[in-house]
Amino acid sequence: MDIFLQQLANGLTIGSMFALVALGYTMVYGVMRLINFAHGDMVAASAFVGLTIYTQVMGQATSLVAVIAIFLLAAVVMAIIGVILERLAYRPLREAPRLSAVVSALGASLIIQNGIMLIWGPRMRIFPELVPQVYWDLGGVVISLIQVIILALSFFLMVGLYLFVEKTRMGAAIRASSIDQDAARLMGINVNSVIMLIFIIGSSLGAVGGLFIGLYYRGITFNMGWQYGLYAFIAAIIGGIGNIPGAMLGGMLLGLFNAFIAGYVSSTWADAFTFILLIVILIVRPTGILGERVAEKV
C-alpha cells in the first residue's frame, strides 16, 4: 500500500507538469486547429530563461521573493516570445492549408531548440536548488516540499484558467472562437486578439511547467522540450484535444499511468505502454475522454 500511495504521489507530480504543458497545446488547437509543435521547445526555453534570470537579474538570490520574481519574469518573457512566434510563424499562414502551418510549427520548433543550444550550449545545465530539500514522511509515503508546491500551484493555475474561460467575457470570446472563428468575428469578437491571448496564456503556463521541470529535476538540456512536448501532446489527445479540462485530466492520467507502469511493470516499458494507451484511446474514443463528438464539417 505504501508503494501504491508513493507511486500515486509521484504520478500526480509529473502529471501536473504534463497537464500545464498540455494546456498550451490544447488551447492553440481549440482555436486555430493547429498542433503547435514548438510548444515543447518553448517549455524548455523557459527553464533556460529562468536560469538566466536567476544568475543575471536576481544575482543568485534564493529568497521566496526571488523565486516568485523568477516565475513572473520567465512567464512574461515566454509570453512575449509566444506572441512573436504566432506573428512570425503562424499568422502569415492563417489562410494557408493546415499542413503548411504544421510544417511551420515544426520549423519553429527546430529554430527554438537550436537557438537554446546556441545561446546556452549543448551541455546539460544545472538549475539552482531554489526550493530547499524538505521532506515529510507520512507513514511510509514521503512527500517533498517541491512536490507540494508543484501540485498546489498547478491546481491553482488550472482552476484559475477554468474559471477565466468559463466565467469571463474574454473566456466566452475564446470559447466562441474555438467553435467557429467566422461566426465569432461576425459577433464582434477580435479573433486576432483572442489568438494572441491564448498564446500568452499557453506560453506562460508552459513557462511555469518548464520552471517546474528545472526545479524538480535540476538538470536541463536544450533538447528536453521534445520529450516533454510529446508527453504533453499525448496528454492533450487523451483528454480530448481542444478541451481545457480534458488537458488537465489527460496530463494527470498520463502521469499516473506512467508512474504505475514504471513502478509495477518496468521503467523500460513505460514509454511503449504510453503509446499503446494512446492508440487504444484513439481507437475507442477518437475525440479523447472529454472531447465532444462533433460531425466533421463537409
Binding site: Q7, M124, I126, Q133, Y135, Y217, T221, A262, A270
Partner: protein, 375 residues
C-alpha cells in the same frame, strides 16, 4: 567502452626497429587528441611523454640511444587515428603512446600489430584486449577491475547486508553493473535488486520506490553522472536511507550540482586523481611536470600512459634489446611488478594491466571530495 570523456586510450607505439643498425635514436610515437574535445587530455599525454623522454635522455638515453618523440594528432576521431597509425609506422617508431579514447586506440590497433609496433593505451573498453594483438598493452585497468573492487568494498570492507545495483542500458554501464553483480554474488553478498533505468529520462522515482520496499543499505549506480546526480537527489527525496555509490562515470562536478544538498554523503568510486597518488615516483614526476608546464597533469590517464612507456623501456633495457616481441614477452612474464607512477605495473598475457587502483571518495558538506578508502 564508455562515453568519450571517460575513455582515455594511450597507445604506446612500439618501434619494431626493422633496421636497427641505422637507427641512432629510439623513436617513440605519441598518438593523442592534441586538438578537439579531448585536447586537454591529449596534450597532457604529449607533455608527459616529452618530459619523460627529456629525463631519460639527460641520463644518457636508452642503451645509449636518445629518445625522439614523434607526435600525431588523432583529434579524438577514428579516421584521423587510422591515418596517424600509418604515419607513425612509416616514420619508424618502435612504440606508440596513446590515444586518449578507446575508439582511437581501437582504430589504430591493427596497423601497429601488423608492423610489430608496441601500443600502450589507457582505454578501458574490454574489446581492446580481446583481439589477440600481442602489440597492445593496456596501462589502465579494465571495467571488470572496477567491478571487482566495488564488490569487495561493499561486501567485505563495509559489510553491507542488502545491496542494490542500478545501471542504464549503455554497453559501458550495463557491462560494469553485470560484472559488479557477478562479483558481489561470488563474494557471498546479498544482492536484493538489480534495476535498470533509462538514461536521461529524469524521473527515476518509480524505480526507486520499488527499491525502497526492499530496504537496501547500499546502492551502486554504474551509469553516468547526468543520471547519477538526479538518482541521488530522488533517492533522498524518497527517504531511502541507503549509502549511494556512483561508478567512475559519476566523477564529474555536475554530479554534485545536480544532486544539490542531497549530494553530501554520496560516494564516488574512481581511479585516484594525480594529487592523491601515494607513490614517491608519482610525487617526483608530478613535481617535475608542474615545474616544466606550470600545471597539474589533467588526469591520471595521462600518467597511466607514461607508466606504459616506462614499462616498455624498462623491458627493453632488461632484455638489452630493442626487439618489441621480446619486450612484450618480458612484460607478460615479469615476476615482480615494476613500481609505477600509478601503482605497481604488471601485465597479464592478454595485454591487460594486472591489479587495480581505485579510491572511494565521499562528497562532503561543501561539495568537495574526501578520500574514504584507497585500494
Amino acid at each position: 567502452m564508455n562515453r568519450c570523456t571517460r575513455s582515455i586510450l594511450v597507445a604506446v607505439a612500439v618501434a619494431l626497429l626493422a633496421v636497427p643498425a641505422f637507427a641512432d635514436t629510439l623513436k617513440v610515437g605519441v598518438q593523442a587528441p592534441i586538438t578537439g574535445s579531448y585536447a586537454n587530455e591529449g596534450q597532457g599525454i604529449e607533455n608527459g611523454v616529452q618530459l619523460l623522454a627529456e629525463q631519460i635522455n639527460a641520463k644518457g638515453g636508452v642503451m645509449g640511444k636518445k629518445i625522439e618523440v614523434i607526435v600525431c594528432d588523432d583529434q579524438g576521431t577514428a579516421m584521423a587515428a587510422a591515418i596517424c597509425a600509418k604515419d607513425l609506422v612509416n616514420k619508424g617508431v618502435s612504440m606508440v603512446i596513446g590515444s586518449y579514447t578507446s575508439t582511437c586506440a581501437e582504430a589504430a590497433q591493427k596497423t601497429y600489430f601488423n608492423a610489430g609496433v608496441l601500443q600502450t593505451s589507457d582505454g578501458t573498453a574490454d574489446s581492446l584486449t580481446e583481439k589477440g594483438y600481442w602489440t597492445f598493452l593496456r596501462n589502465s585497468f579494465p571495467n571488470s577491475a572496477e567491478a571487482a573492487f566495488v564488490a569487495n568494498y561493499l561486501v567485505k570492507v563495509k559489510k553491507y547486508k542488502r545491496i542494490v545495483v542500478i545501471s542504464d542500458f549503455s554497453t559501458y554501464a550495463d557491462g560494469l553493473a553485470n560484472a559488479a553483480e557477478a562479483a558481489i554474488k561470488e563474494l557471498g553478498g546479498n544482492l536484493v535488486s538489480r534495476d535498470k533505468i533509462k538514461a536521461d529520462s529524469q524521473n527515476f522515482t518509480p524505480v526507486l520506490t520499488n527499491i525502497k520496499s526492499k530496504h537496501p543499505d547500499a546502492i551502486f549506480f554504474a551509469g553516468y553522472y547526468s543520471d547519477g546526480g538526479q538518482l541521488r537527489a530522488q533517492q533522498m527525496a524518497l527517504g531511502i536511507k541507503a549509502d549511494f555509490y556512483g561508478g567512475d562515470a559519476n566523477d564529474n562536478p555536475d554530479f554534485v550540482k545536480l544532486a544539490g544538498s542531497a549530494a553530501k554523503g554520496a560516494f564516488i568510486v574512481n581511479v585516484p586523481s594525480p594529487d592523491v597518488l601515494p607513490y614517491d615516483i608519482a610525487k617526483t614526476f608530478i613535481a617535475d611536470y608542474q615545474k616544466k608546464y606550470g600545471e597539474m597533469p589533467p588526469s591520471i590517464w595521462g600518467l597511466m600512459n607514461i607508466d606504459g612507456m616506462r614499462a616498455i623501456i624498462h623491458a627493453m633495457e632488461q632484455n638489452n634489446s630493442f626487439d618489441t616481441r621480446k619486450a612484450v614477452d618480458y612484460l607478460h612474464n615479469m615476476e615482480k611488478p615494476l613500481p609505477g607512477i600509478t601503482g605497481p605495473i604488471a601485465f597479464a598475457k592478454d595485454g591487460n594491466r594486472k591489479g587495480g587502483a581505485y579510491v572511494v571518495k565521499r562528497v562532503q558538506d561543501d561539495g568537495t571530495y574526501a578520500t574514504e578508502y584507497v585500494q
